[in-house]
């Protein structure tokens, strides 16, 4: 029996056209740099025939880590710039997707639409760089919206709060790589936000990536036309890149909280790659090493010990080659936090007791390649790939180029990176006990 509901219906004649387009859903995604890009830090075109849409990601290379006092200023600026850009370009209700988000080291505006909307979508992106102009009272009241959003996220994603606590202990400061998002809410103000916009939303601190069903030359011409008048200026300083914890730090803190669903262990570790100025050439080794180390951690804490409910490991490799690892484990009922910490500690100490084998590296390579191939099937995943390295100011990597990078990385590079990542360094641990 076959379920074929579509061939007889007029609405699906349109579909038939789409089907032929999407017959090769994992075609290669080449990346072309736009030469006439004005003062932009970078501008790139990524033609992708597989999806009938176009996406423009405008990446401001400053985010929450660049917050002045008060924390949250980058976030408020994101809101103001997004609404101002809408008001400046749209003369009717929005019909395109808008997505703006403030990350640690970047703020990213994503405007999407049908291929024929490319010029409008680019103009919306360009307007983000103009000083925000909003109706009287609107900008001031947006502070209240940011407050609502912050409280909402804090409640819905307690893991963020827990990670923030660990990073504060790790870096010994509530600013920069750590933050005081909630405590600083009463101090959020427009002056700081406009100042942040003037300082950070400058062309030299901005990368534009255009991807989707576009003609390369036509898209490049439009980018030149819309961004070509921008002037290069010195990019803003990044003081957070100089934040280094005491290498001998081994902070352990016990807290009680009613925010969490169960007892949780949060761990953070900082690794200083002192002999490196940039992380760019180490990206392949970073991704493969992280894959191998994550697998070993999962094996020890998840597969071999059912008292650990879930293990989440995040790695952040900053542009200056500072490496930060965050690990969070939730515990099954009855598993003591102190015992869990001892188990985690011994796991990390002994993680490389058995040398990494060639087979492990081969497997990690396979997994990364397959993951990139799967990402090619979905526009959102492709956008994530494109912005991942670009958010640090590097050229973007598509899934196709990522696979090339992974395949070009040698086993020795992976081994060296993993050993450096796991050597003793500054750590901070939070033992969070759930109470009612």
């Amino acid at each position: 029996m076959r379920f074929t509901s579509f061939p007889f219906r007029p609405a699906y004649l349109v579909l038939a056209g789409l089907l032929s387009i999407s017959s090769a859903p994992t075609s290669a995604q080449d990346i072309f740099s736009v030469e006439d890009k004005g003062g932009l830090h970078g501008a790139y075109i990524v033609p992708i025939e597989d999806f009938n849409r176009v996406d423009v990601q405008l990446i401001v290379l400053s985010g929450a880590y660049d917050d002045p006092d008060p924390s949250g200023t980058a976030h408020l600026t994101e809101h103001l710039a997004a609404f101002s850009a809408d008001a400046a370009v749209l003369d009717r209700a929005r019909e395109r997707d808008l997505n703006a988000a403030t990350y640690d080291a970047a703020t990213i505006y994503t405007n999407s639409g049908a291929p024929e909307d490319l010029e409008t979508v680019l103009r919306l992106s360009r307007a983000v760089l103009d000083t925000p102009v909003l109706p009287e009272g609107f900008a001031e009241s947006e502070i209240g919206i940011v407050e609502r959003e912050t409280f909402l996220r804090e409640r819905q994603y307690p893991a963020r709060w827990l990670k923030r606590l660990a990073l504060k202990d790790l870096y010994g400061t509530p600013r920069g790589r750590a933050s005081s998002t909630v405590a600083d809410l009463p101090n959020l103000n427009l002056d700081a936000a406009y100042h942040f916009h003037a300082k950070h939303y400058v062309p030299s601190n901005v990368t534009v990536i255009v991807s989707g069903k576009i003609d390369q030359m036509e898209a490049a011409n439009l980018v030149s036309q819309i961004f070509g008048d921008t002037q290069a200026t010195p990019p803003p300083a990044k003081p957070w890149l100089d934040q280094k914890p005491d290498p001998n730090l081994n902070s352990v803190k016990y807290i009680e909280t009613n925010r969490l669903p169960r007892d949780t262990l949060q761990f953070a570790k900082f690794i200083d790659f002192k002999d490196q100025d940039s992380s760019f050439d180490l990206q392949g080794a970073f991704f493969l090493s992280a894959e191998i180390l994550n697998t070993r951690i999962q094996n020890a804490l998840h597969f071999d010990d059912v008292r650990f409910l879930d293990v989440e490991v995040d790695w952040y490799f900053a542009k200056n080659a500072d490496l930060e690892m965050s690990l969070r484990v939730e515990l099954m009922p009855g598993f003591e936090l102190g015992e869990a910490r001892r188990r985690l500690r011994s796991t990390l100490l002994l993680l490389l007791r058995d040398p990494i084998s060639a087979e492990e590296i081969k497997r990690a390579r396979q997994k990364d390649v397959v993951s990139a191939q799967n990402a090619s099937r979905d526009p959102a995943d492709i956008r994530w790939f494109l912005k991942n390295l670009a958010a640090d100011g590097f050229p973007p990597f598509s899934p196709t180029l990522y696979i090339d990078m992974i395949n070009a990385t040698t086993d020795q590079e992976v081994l060296d990176f993993a050993i450096k990542a796991m050597r003793p360094s500054a750590t901070a641990t939070i033992l969070a006990k759930k109470v009612d």
């Binding site: 379920f3 509901s5 859903p25 609502r148 909402l152 925010r259 169960r262 879930d310 397959v370």
Partner: protein, 461 residues
């Protein structure tokens, strides 16, 4: 007649209670008839997908979650020839994705993988289903993984939606401990829904299905349509109580306001009309809730509406906003005014036309890229399987919807506001006597919404 209905229900559930020989203490979940295989259009993203469907019967929420945990344990807990680590390494190296979910009537396993590895994916699946070796500890962890997050803790509308759908989908009451595992085996499914187009895959699937166990008792009863319909109504009352559920947190600066209604529609056009009207109320940045509550009143970051289709012509309509605690009574009133405005047909035709076009595009996009969503569409219409070429009525309804007619008849598409349940989670003043008049329940901390839903329903009855 009631006695007859109970007797027939009991016979139908026999298939879920049978035990298999190889693992004496394992409960076999299997259909008592040959699996119906359904072939849907291949996906358009280079992936193939297979969904195995087991009948869930009339079970409690605990039992449904236990079965999900059991199936997850089978998928990830290892086999006679592969450790859990090996299983996960294999699925990652091959790009396989596995998902376990339930509908009101079914337990579903959907497995997706790139076309080129799908034949061997089915071999892997066969290995998992035939030789599971998960431990009790592993199963207990899966139980913890699948349990609902308490909405009182997360204050997340998504968690409220999940709890409401759980309440509406399963029988009230506690499960017998004997029904909660730890050991399940999953044998012959009632349906297998394949999206591949590859003859090799079809052959491999037939081989897999033939190997899966079925209960020792093989009874199949075909009921007349009228009786099936009657049984269905009896087994699945689809209603939320009215009144107010209140979780008070005096320390909180925020209040989550939820208005929810479980609605049974006459037919698909009625439901599609309601869906579009709810989208106009709060589903996007174009919506009234976003425009008024966020952009004009500056009262909430996340005001929005949801339209969760749970079964054929059955949906949960939901409005939500998280607001400053002291301000919640005013925003609650405003949400009511926004709803009444749309209910009375105050909707620009141009906007509803745009929403209609979006709904058509979204349906097509999801059908060709989201196998779980597509299977749910099919199972809602044909829960017991189907033969021959079929067209889903929902597709006609979406195609034929007339924004002008929907606006003109808005009050017949949307239920009255008084029929909604109010859920308040957070700080701020207590609800007024008027809001307590239709029923009021104070929710204790770390307690599921079901506690109050049951209490309000009992009082109402």
């Amino acid at each position: 007649m009631h006695a007859l209905l109970r007797a027939l229900t009991a016979v139908l559930l026999l298939s879920l209670g049978a035990f298999s020989a190889p693992q004496a203490r394992a409960e076999l979940i299997a259909a008592n008839h040959k699996t119906d295989t359904v072939y849907l259009h291949p996906l358009r993203n280079g992936l193939s997908a297979l969904t195995l469907v087991w009948p869930l019967g009339q079970v409690t929420e605990d039992r449904a979650l236990a079965l999900q945990a059991g199936l997850r344990s089978v998928l990830f807990g290892g086999t006679a020839s592969r450790s859990p680590q090996d299983v996960v390494e294999y699925i990652r190296v091959k790009g396989i994705r596995q998902s376990v979910s339930t509908t009101r009537r079914h337990l579903l396993l959907t497995i997706t993988a790139p076309k080129e590895v799908f034949p061997e994916t089915l071999v892997h699946l066969e290995n998992l289903l035939m030789e599971p070796t998960y431990t009790s500890g592993w199963y207990q962890r899966e139980r913890e993984t699948v349990r609902y997050a308490h909405a009182t803790l997360s204050r997340n509308p998504d968690d409220v939606r999940a709890e409401l759908q759980g309440y509406l989908s399963h029988q009230a009451g506690e499960a017998d401990p004997a029904e909660l595992g730890p050991t399940f085996r999953f044998g012959r499914p009632s349906q297998a829904i394949l999206r591949s187009g590859d003859p090799v895959v079809e052959q491999r699937l037939a081989k897999l299905l033939s190997k899966l166990s079925q209960p020792a008792i093989s009874v199949r009863i075909t009921l007349p349509k009228w009786l099936e319909s009657r049984l269905d109504r009896k087994r699945f009352p689809f209603e939320l109580p009215t009144g107010t559920i209140h979780f008070q947190d005096p320390t909180s600066s925020e209040m989550l306001i939820i208005l929810a209604r479980a609605e049974v529609f006459e037919d698909e056009p009625q439901m599609v009309g309601a869906n579009l009207l709810m989208n106009h109320i709060g589903a996007s940045a174009n919506s009234d809730m976003f425009r008024i509550l966020r952009q004009e009143m500056r009262a909430s970051y996340d005001p929005r509406s949801y339209f969760d289709i749970v079964d054929k012509n059955r949906a949960v309509l939901l409005l939500s906003a998280t607001v400053k605690a002291d301000n919640w009574p005013r925003i609650y009133d405003e949400i009511g005014e926004i709803y009444q405005s749309t209910h009375s047909g105050n909707v620009p035709t141009s906007i509803l036309t745009l929403l209609h076009q979006d709904a058509q595009k979204l349906f097509i996009e999801r059908f060709f890229h989201n196998p779980i969503w597509s299977v749910n569409q099919l199972l809602r219409e044909f829960p017991n399987g189907v033969k021959g070429n079929v067209v889903l009525p929902i597709i006609d309804a979406i195609d034929d919807a007339s924004p002008r007619d929907i606006i003109a008849n808005a009050d017949s598409h949307l239920p009255p506001l008084d029929d909604y349940l109010l859920i308040l989670i957070g700080g701020g003043p207590d609800p007024t006597a008027e809001l307590r008049a239709n029923g009021y329940c104070t929710l204790p901390p770390n307690t599921p919404l079901k506690h109050c839903l049951t209490q309000l329903a009992t009082v109402a009855n």
